[in-house]
Subunit: 465 residues, 2 copies
């Protein structure tokens, strides 16, 4: 499936010996660990790295980079391995640089609403660590990803509508450059106009420009009241209109997720719920008790006027957790629609005014295929996913899904949208990057050539040259 | 004052004739218009460009860039001329590219909460244009700047605490590269993970990487209720603690500005107010009637517990406007403290936990000098300004202010802050960029050399090489 030819890099004689001499048992050569690091959560073929280095310190990373750069050996940073578009697959071999051992929360500064973490910290572990501070870290892709990986892919999740994406969450980064330098992109001030915004250049660069070895992250106060609700709609358009009107009314929606009827069916089976099989919104409201009550009143009235049914409430933490766990497991629920199937996921993002149309046309296209597929998305951002449940042994199904995905991406681009709202380009979306951004891609290549002239970092990702 | 030697570029013979042949009367060679474009709002010496081009279209910009690049003539983009750090001063001569004629609002998309504007649109004109849509554009530096200039300097203003800075406000840009290509950095989706974040690379690049010819901007719904209040505090620490605790309590402060006692004195004189001469917070609250009332209750209680006085209310639009006009004219008020004086402004930004200490130490330093100087700032961001009112003919005063400014910047850096929160590096902050960001500056230079190899765009700004 990789559109980039996997022209494996030839490892120079003695290179792995030099690595072993420097890193000892932290360098793993066994087939099992290499296979694990060559696999991905998604449908991309496994490509083994030549070795896996378990880095423990920034110095480890810098030394690895210098050894690899000198030998022309690729380095692919590796976190939780939960990226969707083959972003961490070492398609040209080389070193898979596993950063999960760098998992310390270095500092929490409650009065500054920030913290400093190593890249291997996972988002759930960070929130667990923060639980006594009254603060939380909001960004939540479905998987329990590492924060380094989330920054590298510019991840977002269910509450981006209120709290933004990783580009908003990262205040600054420590990065190892392909020259082995260790740089800091910003001080700890909440804003700065000092020079180029390297922070946001590295966020979303998918490990192609530098290796993130530390992150300074913005935190938010845990709201006094958190309230969730589920509401089914007669039409998809009614659900989307409700969200647009709520934003127009100044309701600071914390989360607003759409699940189409088939996704609701999948969730009902997987998470043992009994929701009506309709286009459905999952809401979450944050604020004081009075403010949440007022937000709910406003949204209920809008939903009612747009063909929404009764609100099903979850004010208790356990009920809320159950609901949002169901949402976060929606991918597995969708895959599970078919016995023995594997998942194939994609995402696009369009201007809000085109979202209902884009989802409706996509659903129509999906319904022409016998392959089960669900739609779910972050309505407030105009971002949605399609999850296919495919037979892993059927080349014909793979080809059919690829064709549907191509039509989806082209539909989103025709609506002035993007080929990916939050998964990144990786391998899977390279085909459309030029169509989406034209000459800007050549500017990206100039940046890549300037910062990584020997193409050491995650070669073949985002674009080739 | 320019720390970069003004080594003027030699204009090749025939170059201005070629420009005149292409642009006719849009190319201005007169001394008065050149002097106007060589001056700045601040204390930097006037440096005349060789000519001023009044661009009317993106094609004009691209043609100008190609002619200048071929001849090695510098191009400095020019908007309202309100930048503070000499950002638009053509220190090496060449063409001042005036974009104020490109002032069309190209499209407003209310359901998408965005609009498309040309770079010469000023922020007040945009909000005037939007007034019937129920939406507004929040970013408000003191001056009525152009949106292109605001993007180029990564400007912010009084409500960044709630609505962010230009990095958050810009969804995408049309940019002319030094090669004369016209690129678009992003589609109109509210978020994207497609490739490098060129949008935010150009935002804050101060015209050194490309010329912005169109901007897609995020808009926000005008809140149902806007309420302002003024509150004096016995101590600066009490004012800052009130703000930190309000954020911790989840109060979504829309604006929170601090003015020190001397700035209040200046404002009282200039804007005919009668505020107590104390460290004072100007608040603004946005939301529904009930939510604003609740926010005010919370903040009043916190202010009271932190040594704040009574809240002076301005719920009527005229009173509110008067109050915020006074805040926006604070710079002129400060300069006016002394007859015949000119202004000299600087800004730094520190983590919130260090803000009270940083302002207090700075005030102590200012009080050792006879030169009048005020402090005002955006407390929620940890960002503050010092405005000096100096005798334009006194080299000794200039030297004294430069020394105080140097101590201020070094104080901010020692607190893990930045040398500029919103004015940019321009000429004035270059001396500290390496101290602030170390090896990251070399990475910035690599980006500059890759994208503008002949150093055509605003040479000598941010850094030299």
């Amino acid at each position: 499936m990789a559109r980039t030819a996997p022209d494996r890099t030839v490892i120079p004689p003695g290179f792995l010996d030099r690595m072993a001499a420097r890193f000892g048992p932290a360098l793993a050569l066994g087939e099992a660990v290499r296979a694990q690091h060559g696999a991905s959560e998604s449908h991309y073929p496994v490509v083994l790295p030549d070795a896996v280095l378990f880095a423990a310190t920034t110095t480890d990373v810098a030394d690895c980079v210098r050894l690899c750069a000198a030998a022309g050996v690729p380095i692919v940073a590796y976190g939780a391995g939960t990226s969707i578009e083959g972003n961490a697959t070492p398609i040209r071999g080389g070193i898979s640089l596993d950063l999960t051992g760098m998992d310390a929360v270095v500092a929490v500064n409650p009065e500054d609403f920030d913290c400093i973490v190593q890249p291997g910290v996972r988002r759930e572990a960070l929130n667990q660590h923060l639980r006594d501070t009254g603060l939380f870290f909001p960004i939540d892709p479905g998987a329990n990803a590492t924060l380094g990986g989330m920054a590298a892919t510019r991840a977002s999740g269910t509450n981006a509508v209120r709290y933004g994406t990783m580009k908003d969450a990262v205040l600054g980064l420590e990065v190892v450059t392909p020259q082995g330098e260790v740089i800091r992109t910003a001080r700890r001030a909440r804003k700065s106009a000092a020079g180029y915004d390297l922070t946001r250049l590295y966020v979303g660069s998918e490990g192609t420009l530098g290796i993130i070895t530390e992150l300074t992250l913005r935190l938010h106060p845990i709201p006094e009241v958190i309230s969730s609700a589920v509401c089914g709609f007669a039409t998809l358009r009614g659900a989307v209109d409700t969200v647009v009107q709520a934003i127009q009314s100044g309701v600071p929606l914390a989360r607003v997720e759409i699940l189409d009827a088939m996704q609701i069916r999948a969730v009902n089976i997987w998470s043992k719920l009994a929701l009506a099989e309709l286009p459905t919104l999952f809401f979450e409201f944050h604020g004081s008790a009075a403010h949440v009550a007022e937000q709910v009143e406003t949204v209920k009235a809008l939903a009612n006027a747009n063909g929404g049914g009764a609100f099903d409430w979850s004010n208790q933490p356990e009920q809320r957790s159950r609901l949002w766990r169901a949402r976060h497991e929606a991918y597995y629920a969708a895959v599970n629609l078919r016995a023995g199937a594997v998942g194939w996921a994609t995402d696009v993002c369009v201007p809000l005014s085109r979202l209902a149309e884009c989802i409706t046309e996509t659903r129509r296209d999906l319904d022409l295929s016998p392959i089960p597929a669900t739609i779910l998305g972050h309505v407030g951002d105009g971002n949605f996913h399609v999850v296919f449940s495919i037979d892993p042994d059927s080349a014909q199904e793979l080809a059919e899904v690829e064709a549907i995905n191509a039509r989806l991406v082209e539909r989103a681009l025709a609506m002035d949208g993007t080929s990916t709202g939050e998964h990144g380009i990786g391998l899977g979306k390279q085909h459309w990057l030029e169509a989406e951004l034209g000459g800007a891609v050549e500017v990206m290549r100039r940046v890549k050539r300037a910062l990584d002239p020997h193409n050491v970092f995650n070669p073949g990702k985002i674009f080739t040259f």
